[in-house]
């Protein structure tokens, strides 16, 4: 994000606004008891963080966050929520304070870690001098497709992506083995009804 001088202020304001919205939404999620509202708010959380990723120039990550975080997860959470109750039980006593302490400690560690990080868009940072430049220089002669992210994902790190696809496939397999098959699943019911209707139709015709 380079440009003229005033741009930095605008970008700072944008970042602060988006992070404030994220903070407010996170607090609301932590305090709410209605699971439906929590699911909806976590979708909003994903969408706002996707917007923020766009502001940080991480378009591919933003895209994935919007599609997976705001799209699929919300739908799956809704599906899971329908199977359980609609409200969460309020926590009491020690169970209420321990998570807060864990979150504060983790946050402090993360903030401490950011002190060592290079500045945003720093051209001398390790990410922009080492392997990143290497990929930028080598991708076009070697693979000849313009989107370097796709080239890295599908070609240079093809094994990695194969593993990810395997994980996704196994997740689907595991869930369908646990919940998806069997006489009581809706798929089997729909098939059974269709078969009964087909038999009825045949009998009416004959």
């Amino acid at each position: 994000m380079t440009g003229f001088e005033g741009a930095t202020l605008a970008i700072d304001l944008l970042n602060i606004t988006l992070l404030t919205i994220l903070f407010v939404v996170a607090i609301a999620i932590a305090r709410l008891r209605s699971l439906f509202a929590i699911v909806m708010l976590s979708g909003i959380y994903s969408l706002v963080s996707a917007t923020w990723f766009v502001a940080l120039d991480a378009v591919d990550v933003a895209f994935t966050e919007a599609a997976v975080g705001a799209g699929i997860s919300t739908a799956l959470f809704l599906g899971a929520m329908v199977l359980t109750s609609r409200t969460a039980k309020p926590e009491k006593g020690a169970t209420k304070i321990v998570p807060l302490l864990v979150v504060i400690a983790t946050g402090a560690v993360l903030i401490y870690a950011t002190i060592d990080l290079p500045g945003f868009g720093d051209p001398n940072s390790p990410a922009n001098t080492g392997v990143g430049v290497e990929f930028l220089e080598r991708t076009y002669p070697e693979i000849a497709i313009p989107n370097i992210v796709t080239a890295v994902l599908a070609s240079y790190r093809g094994f990695d992506t194969l593993g990810e696809v395997g994980v996704v496939f196994m997740a689907g397999l595991a869930v369908s083995l646990l919940l998806g098959f069997g006489e009581r699943s809706l798929g089997a019911t729909v098939r059974r009804e269709d078969r009964i209707n087909a038999i009825k139709d045949d009998e009416e015709e004959s």
Partner: protein, 150 residues
């Protein structure tokens, strides 16, 4: 459906679902040039099916796109991906070495392009299939979601 107070939702969804599906394919086939690729496209296509089933009911969706078909697609995607790896092996290269696919001279890019396109199709199938399978598994446990349950 009783009490047709979701009519706006249904009309809008009917118009939007084909566009969402089209956008999914655009994201997939334009992944070479712009952000996106098989993962995102697969999720968008899965969202199409899920949106349809949220609005028009799960049983009609299961009649159109059967759970068995989605499981098949999910497995097929993974097999396509692994198949490219074995294709490269069969041509004398390493596993997933796209340059070996057509035994090109150094400097040729057809192998890389074909390899990337085919594995992206594998990713698309696997992700779309797995996502809809998971959704069917969860949503199929309750027969019909009543309005007052929301």
């Amino acid at each position: 459906m009783k009490g047709d107070h979701h009519v706006i939702l249904r009309v809008v969804a009917k118009a939007l679902i084909p566009i969402i599906a089209m956008y999914g394919f655009y994201v997939h086939f334009h992944g070479e040039y712009s952000p996106g690729g098989g993962f995102q496209a697969g999720v968008i296509l899965a969202v199409c099916v899920i949106l349809y089933s949220l609005i028009f009911g799960i049983a009609p969706t299961m009649r159109a796109i059967t759970p068995g078909f989605e499981r098949f697609i999910g497995g097929l995607g993974f097999i396509i991906y692994v198949g490219v790896g074995f294709w490269a092996l069969a041509m004398g290269g390493n596993f997933l070495e796209y340059d070996a696919l057509f035994r090109e001279e150094p400097g040729g890019h057809a192998g890389q392009h074909t390899g990337i396109i085919v594995i992206e199709i594998g990713v698309l199938f696997a992700v779309a299939g797995a996502m809809v399978t998971i959704f069917y598994a969860f949503a199929g446990r309750v027969s019909e979601i009543r309005d007052e349950d929301w």
